[in-house]
Amino acid sequence: MARNFNHRIRRYTFKAMHFFGLFLAMMVLCVPGFWIVLNSFRPTVEIMAKPPVWIPNELNLDHYRAMFGGIGEGGVPVLTYFTNSLVISVTSTVIAILIGMAGGYAFARYKFKFKGGIFVGLMITRAVPGVALSLPLFIIFARVGIIDTHIGMIIAYVALNVPFTVWLIDGFFRQIPPELAEAAEIDGCTRWQAFWRVEFPVARSGIASAGIFAFLTSWNEYALASQLTRSTTSKTMPVGLLDFTSEFTLNWGGMCALAVLMIIPALILTFLVQKHLIAGLTFGGVKG
């Protein structure tokens, strides 16, 4: 009886600890983000208040209004940055996906010499730190005259994303049995038709998630963008965040508002991609 009782107590403490640990972990993961969202709606006076104001007295859209209001109030051309970010990210993602599909297909379906070597070589280009790469890129782009242009940023981001899209898409194509395409070819399709009619539809959702991943990388990238963009003609939002800082002060509220604007697209896309992303990264797991 006593042993049974002990056992039960142990189980309850374990359960309580489990619940507490989980609660704590989720708090740590979520609170910083909520803090940013909350502060984007609070007036600056309240953000700066000493002693701190915990329960907001007043929530308003002032920071958003200032941000979109133009040069006069906020001083940050947010809409231009948003458009720049969108144009650069979308274009570079589309190109990176096309190149990645070609490359991934080659790795998944063909046998050739130095396959492993070429694959590792492609991966290694991704490991080059952005800062180290930005120095020579800066020199070259300045020479060619594409610094501070959309084209320059798009080219840089395509190269940044290609290794990853090749890797992911290779994994997705590998999960499709080659017999599927072979059957289509026997039925009279060309290889090209077999690819578009049979293999592409099967891998489509996987390719979409690779695309979203590439989009997010471009959308969030900072190290390269901070050096290769100079003015409002090509500055992206991560670089634009720095506009809220000056030598000694920081416009916290405005910065939080821009941060929220940056997170919303990322949030939506991550939810959409969630399932496929995990599957893609683990190559379909151990099911075999």
Binding site: F107, P129, A132, S134, I155, V166, T282
Partner: protein
């Protein structure tokens, strides 16, 4: 006229190879060359001023460089290990939950959406000594009444940076390890139970070996962009106070753009590139090996 016929795999790979050589390889060759010159941004013709190994010698004998190097390796080791342990713990806790697992998984993904630069600003705000969340909370709870200088004191600043870094990347480990936990076959675990293993033993000798490939996948992915820490550090402390949190990448950026000494910066850049490649190759090797052990094939 005879048309040159390339094998189809090469045609398919050509765009990838072309763009990567244009944007990565050629710049790297250029930076390798310029690391042997005294190139300064302000004097373009200095790129032809060959100085041999001078820049590398200078880097190797520079105490500031080695301090930054050591700090970078320390940061990576501490952060990656912490991320792995916390991610493992998180995944185990989430996998034990019976209701609302989907919601918890979604919450776990939350930090992954944040741009590194955003993470930097967010934690710069949260650790701010005057208006930050942490100090506000500590003061309101009456734990301390002075403003703790989280980002000004050298040790605390390093702690804050590691905290920010771990916050962003733990969920990558958590999500992938969780995927691994779902994929573990039931039979070996039941067999272990029948054979009288304690829950620790069955975790250590059955679950963990199955999880290793997933842990290495996460490590490999993370090692591909460890340099993301540049964004975070640059925003949070910019290498300060008094270079106490200077990492290789912030040092390179400062030397190249602020001091305009491109040649020297590129020499240091090369050392950091080799560091990154070493990490990547190491984890990819581990990944292939542990895959083979499980018979997954590569």
């Amino acid at each position: 006229m005879k048309r040159l016929k390339l094998p189809p795999w090469l045609v398919l790979l050509l765009p990838a190879i072309l763009i990567l050589s244009a944007v990565v390889l050629i710049p790297l060759v250029l930076s390798l060359y310029s690391s042997f010159t005294s190139y300064r941004l302000t004097r373009p013709d200095s790129i032809f001023n060959w100085v041999g190994l001078f820049n590398y010698e200078k880097a190797v004998t520079d105490a500031k460089f080695w301090a930054a190097f050591g700090r970078t390796v320390l940061l990576l080791t501490v952060a990656l290990n912490l991320e792995m342990l916390l991610g493992l713990g998180l995944a185990l806790m989430v996998s034990k939950v019976t209701h609302g697992q989907r919601l918890l998984r979604t919450m776990m993904m939350f930090p992954m959406m944040f741009s590194p630069i955003l993470v930097g600003f967010q934690f710069k705000f949260i650790f701010n000594d005057n208006v930050g969340l942490v100090n506000n909370a500590l003061q309101s709870l009456g734990i301390t009444d002075r403003a703790i200088p989280w980002l000004v004191d050298a040790d605390l600043a390093m702690f804050s940076i590691i905290f920010a870094e771990v916050w962003t990347a733990t969920s990558v480990f958590g999500i992938l390890i969780l995927a691994g936990l779902y994929a573990i076959p039931r039979d070996p675990l039941e067999a272990a139970k029948v054979d009288g293993c304690t829950s620790w033993q069955s975790f250590r000798y059955v679950t963990l070996p199955f999880l290793m490939p997933f842990i290495y996948i996460a490590m490999a992915i993370r090692s591909l962009d460890v340099a993301r820490a540049y964004d975070i550090v640059q925003v949070m402390t910019n290498g300060g106070p008094a270079r106490r949190t200077e990492l290789l990448w912030t040092l390179i950026g400062r030397t190249g753009y602020v001091d305009a000494r491109m040649g020297y910066a590129n020499a240091m850049g090369y050392i950091s590139i080799f560091l990154a490649i070493f990490f990547t190759v190491y984890f990819f090797k581990k990944l292939t090996k542990s895959r083979k052990e499980l018979g997954m094939g590569a």
